[in-house]
């Protein structure tokens, strides 16, 4: 399958190589290493058979759950226009744009992606993508450590627990101290005192719990001690939220799924990474720059290549090579499709819908733990274990949220959720909690 050779072709090749069988290709490999009777796998499927095979497995996932889960990945409307442009084969089946002359398409879209990310976050320089939000946080911390040569990291506890686990894996605890700071009433304590041993202040905006605060003062306090300030932002809320740049952050990272990528069971998505220009040399991953060709025509190329692993080897700013270009392309096209008014609606309607839902839940006697400080996502107390609520709501066709702890459910709204769906949620939620 997918090998094009006919018997005639094989004769041509065998003649050129003066061999009579495929086995003769491997006479230099020690015999005891060669596989004897082939691999223990099943026979091939035709596409028709495979359609049924995979459709049957897909059907074992519960279909059409109305999604109230967030935690970094959001069920934002993704227009078919964005999907079909992103999946154009010229984007999808191309390699990394090392050969600029035949890669201007990818290079220009990535240049636009970088520019759009900078404009949206009010930063100066973005890279061409990292793996996902969680790994981007770790990469940003590495930049801060390299910049400051300090070994203490002040990191908010208000992150998705999975993201914290990724940071714990990727930042060497033998060398660096990850100082997790508890939120105070769902906000990062405004009176926190930074020290001159701190390399980084890492905070999520909004916090994982859904609460948000203006971080301007904390950032300026941290920066007065020479601390690099890192903001992990929910990009689909940037139509309404203050920008990390306006709050003074040095580095912005994001889980970019909600801009241009379907939920995808969490991958592939895309990590955004943007910073100030003075950190340019420390940025991980690829950066696209504008130049001219030999005829003075505007041309895009990969630039600042001396940071990267294929040139710098063990001295590289990161080991990243393959990134998430296609998803970054999706982000660029989706941002352009939304425009200022569209991304405003995405954020504004999510907050309005959350507000409506919180009101209904409170009227039904439930407690919203972070009612006032939360925006599109919030914590609601459950009367039975949150994991049971999720199971029971699932039977009613609703993915109710994420288990935050035993009796708290993290619920997220997007512009996609309708009043009817919210009403249905609250009705079901009352029933399952009251058993």
């Amino acid at each position: 399958m997918f090998v094009p050779h006919s018997n005639l072709d094989l004769n041509t090749i065998f003649d050129e190589l003066d061999i009579k069988s495929l086995e003769q290709l491997f006479t230099h490999i020690p015999k005891d290493l060669l596989i004897e009777n082939g691999l223990d796998v099943e026979d091939s499927l035709s596409e028709l058979e495979a359609t049924k095979y995979f459709q049957d497995i897909a059907n074992k996932n519960t279909s059409n759950l109305v999604c109230f889960a967030g935690g970094g990945h959001y069920d934002v409307y993704l227009p078919p226009t964005v999907k079909s442009l992103t999946m154009r084969p010229e984007f999808m089946t191309s390699y990394t744009p090392y050969q600029a002359e035949i890669s201007q398409g990818i290079l220009q879209v990535l240049f636009e992606f970088q520019s759009l990310v900078c404009d949206l976050t009010e930063m100066e320089l973005a890279n061409a993508s990292l793996y996902d939000g969680a790994t981007s946080i770790a990469e940003a911390i590495s930049v801060a450590i390299n910049k400051t040569k300090r070994d203490n990291v002040v990191i908010s506890h208000g992150f998705n627990p999975n993201s914290k686990q990724v940071v714990n894996t990727l930042i060497d605890s033998a060398k660096f101290n990850l100082n997790y700071v508890e939120l105070d009433n769902y906000l990062f304590p405004e009176d926190y005192e930074f020290s001159e041993d701190d390399a980084a202040f890492v905070v999520s905006f909004p916090h994982y719990e859904g609460s948000a605060q203006d971080l301007t003062n904390l950032v300026s306090k941290a920066q007065s001690k020479g601390v690099v300030c890192i903001c992990y932002v929910d990009p689909s809320m940037l139509g309404v939220l203050k920008t990390p740049g306006a709050m003074g952050f040095d580095i912005v990272v994001a889980e970019g799924q909600s801009i241009g990528t379907p939920l995808s069971f969490g991958g592939p998505t895309v990590g955004w990474f943007a910073t100030k220009k003075d950190l340019a040399r420390l940025v991980p991953g690829r950066i696209i720059g504008e130049t001219i060709d030999n005829n003075h025509k505007k041309t895009y190329v990969m630039t600042l290549r001396a940071r990267e692993q294929d040139i710098r080897r063990e001295k590289a700013s990161s080991n990243i090579c393959t990134n998430q270009t296609l998803n970054a392309i999706g982000s660029a096209i989706h941002l352009s499709w939304m425009g200022p008014e569209g991304i405003y609606q995405v954020g504004y309607q999510a907050i309005q819908k959350a507000s409506y839902m919180k009101t209904l839940l409170k009227e039904a006697g439930f407690t919203i733990n972070n009612d006032e400080s939360s925006l599109r996502e919030f914590l609601v107390k459950t009367s039975i274990p949150a994991s049971e609520v999720i199971s029971l709501m699932g039977e009613r066709g609703i993915l109710a949220g994420i288990e935050y702890d035993k009796n708290q459910l993290l619920v997220a709204l997007t512009e996609k959720r309708t009043k009817a769906e919210i009403d249905e949620f609250v009705f079901a939620f009352k029933e399952v909690n009251n058993g």
């Binding site: 996932n61 889960a69 002359e101 970088q114 520019s115 220009k277 025509k297 080991n319 990243i320």
Partner: protein, 501 residues
């Protein structure tokens, strides 16, 4: 007329510069439309909210579609022509796999949905694990790593954690061949190891004497790809394996070149303890212009409990997530690049036993054929039978005509081919590394060799200006110095002046 393999025309054409989407923006235009708010509107007063709108472009949907379609037209791709790009395995990516990956139940599942609602997705990972460990000769796998470099780092962190548990913290050296991919030393450094480079011998393989001299009680492990980056099978792999194992180190297999040996031999049988595979190379998932990939890591049983988790286990017919006891932790926010893994499984199911048993053989057959043809015009770096790729050198032409590997690569672009990988491996002077993959026809391979012949004739003619090549593409050779010194990485007017090392 040589024409880019089977393509009857050159795939890309020149033309005037495409404006940026910012330049196409006009106030008041828009592509998006959202429903009217259907809940009672309340006043929102929150300190985190701004008053002004985000400064995104304002374009009509038609302008947007034309813009990105025109940009797509300026990009070479596997669907347009031949990428003989060594080390990258740019084979045909079956469309059918994209169809399966876009099934709603796979593509629209939230990653935090509990396993009771995602049995299908977990089953996909479980079946794929079975295929992968059979192909690699390993026992268990984790799909957390989203790319090859992340897989490498995963493998090294497993070695580190394993040695710590064995109270062997003094083992801090990772041995890497001087011909290795840059990600190898970069990953080893990130994992906190010392990088020790082992030399390549005259035949192009690991220098066994040098290896013996470097191995000692501090040896934590060896990173190796087999076939190596010169496209040669490391015939002494059994010796290499016992040298490392006897010193108490582990063997890590860089799966970059796995395509050469699928169905032929298995890393697990060669003595490797940890293997990462690049599903986006060997198993035909699209590269997407640089990503996404997927770099699952497979291990022998004794390392199962160190895998990054959670991994999928089957408990009485029910698939569940399981966090290995000594897990190195997470490498990804959720389950790795699931939809890439799914495409890889689709590919494996379409190939089946007959296709997988012969996959490596046909990849090697095409490379052997192409090397035979190309060697008529350019000398090969090693006088050994190649596996799925081979390295030629332009050093003679450089001496006689100042023609570099770079120039051959650029001239090939004009003929409708992607350039081979240039200047890699680093140990070969003026290297051109070719990897045809098993999905190219004889005529395409012949055309590439013929094009090289024509290019050499053309470039060695008197009065040729090498920097004029390529001539028939949307842009000519870029000036790579300007952006490094005068950095423009944003469409606004800021420039970073006078950046120096």
């Amino acid at each position: 007329m040589v024409s880019g393999g089977n393509a009857s025309s050159l795939p890309l054409v020149g033309g005037s510069t495409e404006p940026t989407i910012r330049e196409l923006s006009r106030p008041g235009r828009r592509a998006s439309k959202y429903p009217k708010l259907d809940v009672p509107e309340v006043e929102i007063n929150h300190p985190a909210i701004k008053n002004e709108k985000a400064p995104l472009p304002e374009v009509s949907e038609h302008d947007l579609v034309m813009h990105y379609s025109r940009l797509a037209h300026r990009n070479f791709a596997v669907d347009l022509g031949f990428y003989p790009l060594g080390s990258c395995t740019m084979k045909y990516n079956p469309r059918f796999a994209d169809f399966v990956a876009s099934l709603d139940n796979f593509s629209n599942t939230h990653p935090a949905a509990p396993s009771e609602f995602t049995q299908g997705s977990l089953e996909i990972l479980s079946i794929l694990e079975k295929y992968l460990i059979e192909i690699c000769g390993m026992d268990f796998a984790s799909f957390q790593p989203p790319a090859g470099a992340s897989g490498e780092l995963t493998g090294l962190l497993i070695i580190k954690r394993y040695l710590e548990n064995q109270k062997l913290e003094h083992k801090t050296d990772i041995i890497v061949p001087d011909s290795a991919h840059g990600t190898n030393p970069a990953s080893a450094k990130m994992a906190g190891f010392n990088v020790v480079e082992v030399a390549t011998d005259e035949r192009g393989m690991v220098n066994i004497d040098d290896l013996r001299s470097l191995v000692n009680e501090n040896t934590a492990g060896l990173m190796l790809t087999n076939p190596n980056t010169g496209g040669l099978f490391e015939e002494e792999i059994a010796t290499i394996s016992s040298i490392i194992h006897e010193a108490g180190g582990l063997l890590y297999y860089d799966g970059a070149n796995l395509n050469a040996i699928v169905g032929v031999c298995r890393p697990g049988d060669m003595g490797f303890d940890i293997v990462h595979s690049n599903l986006h190379k060997t198993f035909a998932t699209p590269h997407g212009g640089g990503g996404p990939g997927s770099g699952p890591v497979a291990v022998k049983s004794f390392l199962k409990e160190y895998l990054p988790g959670p991994i999928v286990v089957n408990n009485d017919g029910e698939y569940e997530w399981y966090i290995p006891k000594h897990s190195i932790g997470r490498m990804h926010g959720y389950h790795g690049n699931f939809l890439v893994a799914l495409r890889a499984l689709v590919y494996m199911k379409l190939l089946g036993k007959e296709g997988l048993d012969t996959l490596g053989s046909y990849a090697v057959l095409n490379a052997r054929y192409l090397s035979s043809k190309v060697s008529k015009y350019l000398p090969l770096a090693f006088d050994e039978p190649c596996m799925h790729e081979f390295v030629a050198t332009v050093k003679d032409l450089k001496k006689s005509h100042k023609i570099k590997a770079y120039d051959i690569g650029k001239a090939l672009l004009d003929k409708g081919f992607h350039s081979p990988t240039i200047y890699f491996p680093l140990i070969i002077e003026e290297a051109l590394m070719f990897e045809p993959t098993e999905t190219q026809t004889v005529e395409t391979l012949d055309d590439l060799a013929e094009s090289i012949k024509l290019i050499i004739e053309e470039l060695t003619a008197p009065g040729v200006n090498l920097s004029d090549y390529p001539k028939n593409l949307p842009v000519g050779r870029p000036n790579e110095l300007i952006p490094a010194k005068h950095l423009t990485v944003h469409w606004g007017d800021f420039e970073l002046l006078e950046l120096t090392e």
